[in-house]
Structures are given as structure tokens and as C-alpha cells.
Symmetry: C2
Subunit: 125 residues, 2 copies
């Protein structure tokens, strides 16, 4: 199973996206909503993101999707907080948050390999 | 003033995105959350989208941002329901929902012309 961690300035966005993806792929993909500051404000939270990634220890690979600017910085900071084993199987994806995460989840039903997922994501813009 | 209409399978996504954009640009842009079916389910609703566009009569231009697949179809159907005057100033944008809408809103603070906004959107992927 793969994990997809959703990072946005808005918790509503990541919760809505999580619902959208789960409706399409069910529980075949481990989707984590990691948007907002964690205390209800708009923004991002590197510690929260790192903690969420740490729940993905059993995943073959962990894909991080972010929206804009500082969401990517927070995700990069979160990666610095991971242990080596987790870090080696975690990738921040350069693709649009909604369209990219949805595409990765659907692709994982067809072929969950990292190569196949990254290839499919090149079609997302 | 421009209008930005947000279309997604998820009302939470468009509400969260509306909040995110308003926090950045305030009330200088007319942002409409038009996600979901209108009765709380995941999906899209062409009539609701058309009704929302119709509230933008005073805008210089109306930009529609959609997430995936049928959201775009619903937006296209909505355009068929508009009167000619409104239709002429409405454009469905081929860009990612979150990143595209956010970029258009911020660009409109700098230069609200359609040319400038469409140009800036070419940088979004």
C-alpha cells in the first residue's frame, strides 16, 4: 500500500480532497489530511506533517502533495525530521495538489510502483 | 473587479480555497465557492455553477477553475445556460484548481487585465 500525505494552507482543502480520493479508491490507499496549522488557522505545520508521515511506516512509498509556497517549505522541513528509513521512501511531488494526489491514488490501483505513479504524474498539469 | 468561480467535486475544497484566497487578497476579488452537488454530496452541479456565475454580472471577467473530469464538463454545461453578455466575459481556465485560482487572484492585484492573468497562469503547473 502507498501513502499520500496532503499538505495545504487549508485543512478544509485537505479534508475535502481526502474524502474525494477515498470515495474513488476506498481504503486501498492510505490518505492523510495534513492541511492547516493544526489549531484551525490557515497555514502549514512542519511538525504535524512529520508526525503524520511517521504514521506511514508500513507503506511501500509515501507521496507528499502540497499546494503553494510555504506548504512546500513546511513539507521539506518535515522531511528533515524523519528517520533515515522513512526518509528514503518519502517523496515530495512537484504536481498540483488536487489533481496530482487524485491521479496518484487512482494510478496506484492500476500499478502501485513508484515508477508507474511518477510516470502518470507527468501527465498532470 | 474580476470574479473567480471555484468548481470541485468537494464543497470543502472550494470553501477552503475561497478562505485561502480571501486571506491573501481580501475583498478585491469576487470569489465564489461552487463545489459539490449543493446538497452535501461529492460531485458537481451545472445549474448551481450557472447560478453562481450569474451573480458576477458586474465583473470585468469571470474565471472558472475546476478540478478533474466531470467538474470541467459541468462548468461547460453551465456556460451553455448563460446569456450572451455573461458568456462573452466568462472563461474556463485550463490550470490546476488550487494553484491556478490562487495565482489568478494574486495577479489581479498587480494587473487585473485578462491578458496579464492568462499570461501569469502559463507559469502554473
Amino acid at each position: 500500500m502507498i501513502s499520500i500525505v496532503l499538505v495545504s494552507h487549508s485543512q478544509k482543502i485537505t479534508e475535502g480532497l481526502q474524502e474525494m480520493i477515498v470515495e474513488m479508491v476506498g481504503d486501498t490507499v492510505h490518505i492523510i489530511s495534513s492541511g492547516g496549522t493544526g489549531d484551525g488557522r490557515l497555514g502549514t505545520n512542519a511538525l504535524m506533517i512529520a508526525d503524520n508521515i511517521a504514521t506511514c511506516t508500513n507503506s511501500e512509498h509515501i507521496y507528499i502533495f502540497c499546494d503553494i509556497g510555504s506548504a512546500i517549505l513546511s513539507a521539506e522541513t518535515a522531511l528533515e525530521l524523519l528517520d533515515t528509513e522513512l526518509l528514503e521512501k518519502t517523496t515530495i511531488i512537484d504536481a498540483p495538489l488536487v489533481e496530482g494526489a487524485f491521479t496518484a491514488a487512482v494510478q496506484s490501483l492500476v500499478n502501485p510502483s513508484k515508477e508507474a505513479i511518477l510516470q502518470e504524474l507527468t501527465n498532470v498539469h
